[in-house]
């Protein structure tokens, strides 16, 4: 059975809304029903690195559309970068994610405009489920970075030369730790510490543990209703009775 067939089976299992998942451990948001959602603070991420080189790596490459015919995100991890990792006969191609030395890596190091194209959250979901906890790059497409934040994955940036040096270092030190201090905007690897940039809102959201915004915004329901009533185009009938 090919990987794609296996995926189809997995997707069929998922249709029962009780998917079997073989994903890497994902950052769990614990829910106890209602609005009681515990959101972990992400002030510090550390792990070994994996370099994914190239500018303008789009979300169709990160997760090809044919793997999105599913109603859950479970099981997407093994399809991350699928077409760059496997040929038509399922043989492995040269790709860092196929290399033994990068198995277990959790900090991806990328170049510019990473994650451009489609808004599919399946892309960061696939990377997260493969095992990625943080991404360091030259720059990120906006929707992709927003999707990462919604999953608690920092997307931190540094200039081109710094990133290329880090990618080279990761190649030589695949098992060594990279430490990302989100709050201090610093990355430490080997003997050096470099300054990186974390978008202000992202930094606060991660460090304060407010990156899952549903409960936070729901607590303003009264003001939201008021806003709806103020806007001239919102029909009264479209505003539900207050709870």
């Amino acid at each position: 059975m090919s990987r794609e067939d296996e995926h189809r089976e997995a997707s069929e299992r998922a249709s029962g809304r009780t998917p079997a998942s073989s994903d890497a451990e994902v950052r769990e948001i614990r829910t106890d029903g209602g609005d009681d959602v515990e959101i972990p603070e992400v002030d510090y991420v550390s792990g070994s690195g994996i370099p994914i080189r190239g500018n303008d790596i789009d979300t169709d490459q990160i997760i090809p559309a044919r793997f999105m015919k599913v109603v859950t995100f479970d099981g997407l991890g093994e399809f991350a970068f699928f077409d760059l990792r496997f040929d038509d006969d399922d043989n492995q191609k040269d790709h860092p994610m196929n290399e033994e030395r990068f198995q277990g890596s959790s900090v991806m190091v990328v170049n510019s405009n990473f994650g451009c194209g489609s808004s599919r959250e399946h892309a960061p979901q696939a990377l997260m489920r493969w095992g990625i906890d943080a991404i360091i790059g030259e720059s990120f497409a906006e929707i992709f970075a927003g999707n990462c934040l919604a999953l608690g994955i920092p997307t931190v940036t540094a200039d081109s030369e710094t990133i290329q040096d880090l990618q080279a270092w990761v190649d030589e030190n695949p098992d060594a730790e990279i430490d990302i201090d989100v709050e201090a905007e610093e990355v430490t690897y080997g003997e050096q510490t470099i300054d990186v940039t974390v978008d202000e809102a992202q930094r606060k959201a991660l460090v304060d543990g407010v990156w899952d915004t549903t409960a936070l915004m729901k607590s303003n329901a009264g003001e939201v209703r008021k806003k709806a009533q103020e806007l001239p185009y919102v029909d009264d009938a479209a505003i539900p009775e207050a709870e």
Partner: protein, 473 residues
């Protein structure tokens, strides 16, 4: 920071509060949903025991996976049927209107919103789809969101966002024969780059934009995201209002039209608005643009030579080299004469009625090349219906095109319509990424609909202006 622009005004009108992160909580006036990116969000709601806060401000359709040939249920492909069934159940439970294929109103989400008058100036519009920027053509603030944000919008009617900068793109002059809105946006992306718009919202202005119909404005706003800008918009004007007046919403509620017009007028960018950046483009200089590579920014005028990677800025050279290898094109040559196997006329960029009409004019009395598989996939059932009434279907079919039902189809290859092997397609869609049209070895050349029609006829990338000369000679 910008001041006095439509973006500033609409943002301020919708801002609920500033969140502890520094992001603003924005009220969302219209939430469009489809089958691919929403099921997981509904799942998250169920997990958290939450309900849809504003079902009447939410509207659903099915477009990505819907078959465009045989649409009988259950769909032949199990995964497609499952996604459709899941969407049906979710909208039924929540009480959300659904333009499903039996309604006659189904189509690509960015085609049906404007058709039904759901899309209006001064609304905030989101959808789990990056081409939501399309709706900016009406002076709405519209942008794509991910699934976790869909959950936010479903549960709260709001989204958390940071305000962005505004770049005005002033397009002066007039478009020449064979040159369209699509060429304007491909040129903008070529000049400013695929990441040039990151952190910006684009305001499209100037004579060439004002002279466009709503469909052309939609084609431009649609591809804002291809230039890195999450949203793009055009200030509403009489062209906008004429469109709105004909839509279902305002036909059913004519009093609303007069009631809302002052609001629409009030959100237009001020004459002396301040922008973070201004870029000027001369429409007179444009010719039909075609892509030679694997990003929408890798475009070139149809008579211009494909650039050598080493002529490009250093950070673009590596991508260009790989793209030219994938596409099998040579620097110094033009794209004219590039062999085409498939002609695809469709997508949320260019599958509206005028797009099909212009293409049909080129096709009329000609035949699709023997080696080309050509298909027309109308953007919506309404476009399809009207086109059939006008006889466009007959024109296309007589020329050898397949006439399909509405959907996203071969733009992203999530249904049966896909490139095979290393086929090359002339496509009126928006993305030429490797693998985008369903085959990882497939090659996509983006172009305007008339150019797609010309390529279908000749079997190669062709300057449509030359075909037109033959017709009129």
């Amino acid at each position: 920071m910008s001041e006095g622009t439509l973006y500033d005004t609409v943002w301020n009108r919708h801002k609920v509060t500033t969140l502890p992160t520094g992001q603003d909580q924005l009220f969302i006036g219209l939430h469009l949903i489809h089958e691919v990116t929403s099921p997981q969000a509904f799942g998250m709601l169920r997990e958290r025991d939450l309900e849809v806060a504003f079902p009447k401000l939410t509207h659903a359709t099915v477009d990505h996976i819907v078959p465009t040939a045989d649409q009988s249920r259950p769909y032949k492909e199990d995964a497609a049927e499952e996604m459709m069934a899941e969407l049906e159940e979710n909208v039924r439970e929540a009480g959300i209107d659904f333009s499903d294929p039996t309604s006659g109103d189904q189509g690509i989400v960015h085609v049906i919103g404007p058709e039904q008058g759901l899309t209006q100036p001064g609304k905030t519009i989101v959808c789990g789809d990056s081409h939501t920027s399309t709706h900016g053509a009406f002076g709405a603030l519209a942008f794509g969101i991910g699934t976790s944000q869909i959950r936010d919008v479903l549960a709260t009617g709001t989204v958390a966002m940071e305000k962005q900068k505004v770049r005005k793109i002033q397009v002066d002059g007039e478009l020449g024969e064979g040159v369209e809105a699509k060429d304007i946006i491909l040129e903008i992306i070529r000049r400013l780059g695929t990441e040039g718009g990151v952190g910006y919202v684009y305001e499209y202005a100037g004579e060439a934009i004002e002279n466009l119909g709503m469909e052309g404005r939609m084609s431009i706003c649609n591809m804002s995201i291809e230039g890195g800008a999450r949203a793009g918009y055009v200030n509403p004007d009489e062209t906008t209002y004429e469109w709105l007046e004909q839509t279902d919403y305002f036909q059913d509620n004519p009093e609303k039209f007069d009631e809302l017009k002052p609001y629409w007028e009030s959100i237009r960018s001020d004459e002396d608005a301040e922008y973070d950046d201004v870029v000027t483009i001369d429409a007179n200089e444009l010719e039909p643009v075609v892509t030679w590579g694997t990003t929408p920014g890798q475009g070139v005028g149809v008579t211009e030579p494909i650039p050598a990677p080493e002529e490009l800025p250093e950070e673009k050279q590596d991508t260009a080299r790989r793209a030219q290898e994938h596409m099998r094109v040579e620097p110094g040559e033009t794209m004219e004469g590039y062999d085409i196997d498939v002609a695809f006329l469709g997508s949320c960029t260019n599958a509206r009625l005028p797009d099909l009409r212009r293409a049909a004019e080129i096709i009329d009395g000609r035949q699709v090349d023997d080696d080309v598989r050509a298909l027309v996939v109308p953007g919506s059932q309404r476009v399809q219906h009207t086109a059939e009434e006008e006889g466009l279907k007959d024109t296309f079919e007589e020329a050898g095109f397949e006439w399909r039902n509405a959907g996203c189809s071969m733009c992203l290859g999530m249904n049966e319509d896909q490139l095979e092997g290393d086929e090359a397609s002339a496509s009126s869609s928006n993305r030429n990424f490797v693998g985008r049209q369903g085959s990882k070895d497939g090659r996509t050349v983006l172009m305007n609909p008339q150019m797609v029609a010309a390529a279908a006829v000749t079997g190669e990338v062709t300057d449509v202006r030359e075909l037109k000369e033959v017709t009129t000679a």
